[in-house]
């Protein structure tokens, strides 16, 4: 039953990513050229509303739907890896025009070459797993 919920959320997320054009390579290019407010508007409004929601959860100690307390864990303060990994990710994001959500949307939308990007992303995640202990964090 819960899985059906996750599946429905995924479908909705996939539709939003496609219809917002956040899954379009062109929108990512345009964002990095500062030629349109579109992507900044999407991320900015999502973060603004999201931050309001997270504050509400924390202040009211809201419970999850199944009645458990919600704890939102802090991200690990590994600033070197946040920065270096972030830069590498940004290079890939701009070249692929897709990040780890939209790549699945694009597969569904029928762009078969995205399979090469997904395969590359899996190789990248695998390589990170192998090199992790040798990298600065």
């Amino acid at each position: 039953m819960k899985n059906l919920g996750y599946f429905m959320i995924g479908i909705f997320f996939g539709i939003v990513l496609y219809k917002s054009e956040a899954a379009s390579w062109f929108r990512i290019y345009e964002m990095f050229q500062f030629q349109s407010f579109h992507m900044y508007g999407i991320i900015g409004s999502a973060v603004l509303l999201g931050a309001g929601f997270v504050q509400w959860v924390k202040r009211t100690k809201a419970k999850s739907l199944d009645g458990n307390p919600i704890t939102i864990a802090d991200k690990k303060k590994t600033f070197v890896s946040n920065a270096l990994g972030g830069i590498l990710f940004g290079l890939g994001w701009a070249l692929a025009g897709a990040c780890p959500g939209p790549m699945y949307t694009l597969l569904g939308a029928g762009f078969l070459p995205i399979l090469i990007v997904i395969f590359g992303a899996l190789l990248g995640a695998l390589a990170y797993g192998g090199l992790k202990s040798k990298l600065p964090h």
């Binding site: 780890p100 694009l106 992303a121």
Partner: protein, 185 residues
């Protein structure tokens, strides 16, 4: 309206709602961790400790991406009149200089994402390298656009701000310094 591209002030709030529903279901929005889960399911745990994880707790997120794929099917085939992306005239002009003549007429550049483009070995390499950077970078950074930019910034996480600034440094280097080298004549 539904069949037109959705404006940012509709799309952004909808993404916030998706994140909120997941939080209320006791989960967090984050797509890139699925890459690790898939590596584990593919057997990477047999030779790398990093992938010796119990995937049962991560399965819900794979269900989400299965939905995201179907969402792409629906969005592209049943909810859109056109696959044109109305980017600015300046962007189109810049892209045409780089040889992207499909700018403004398609959802993705046909120069990279059409099956015909795959006759060009360079395209395979570019897509593979791009994917590799996305996968490696997101796991090294501890998250991607959804995990850091949306979830992390919403929770006012400094590591996420650092990561997002990194995303931009990388993206700006790629588009402004490397695109002319890669695609320029």
């Amino acid at each position: 309206m539904l069949f037109e591209p959705w404006p940012w002030y509709v799309s952004g709030p909808l993404i916030a709602i998706i994140m909120a529903i997941l939080i209320l279901m006791g989960k967090r929005l984050g797509m890139s961790s699925n890459l690790e889960t898939l590596c584990t399911l593919g057997g990477a745990g047999r030779f790398l400790d990093h992938f010796k994880i119990d995937t049962a707790a991560k399965r819900w997120n794979l269900v989400v991406i299965a939905g995201v794929v179907l969402g792409g099917v629906l969005g592209a085939n049943f909810l859109s009149n056109s696959d044109e992306v109305d980017i600015s005239a300046k962007s189109i002009a810049l892209l045409q200089e780089l040889g992207f003549n499909s700018a403004g007429t398609s959802y993705l550049p046909t120069e990279l994402f059409s099956v015909e483009a795959l006759t060009e070995p360079t395209v395979w390499i570019l897509l593979l390298v791009a994917g590799f950077l996305v996968g490696f970078g997101s796991r090294y950074a501890g998250g991607c656009t959804s995990g850091h930019a949306i979830s992390g910034l919403s929770n006012l996480q400094l590591p996420s701000l650092v990561a997002v600034l990194g995303f931009f440094v990388g993206g700006l280097i790629m588009v402004h310094l490397l695109f002319p080298l890669i695609f320029g004549a």
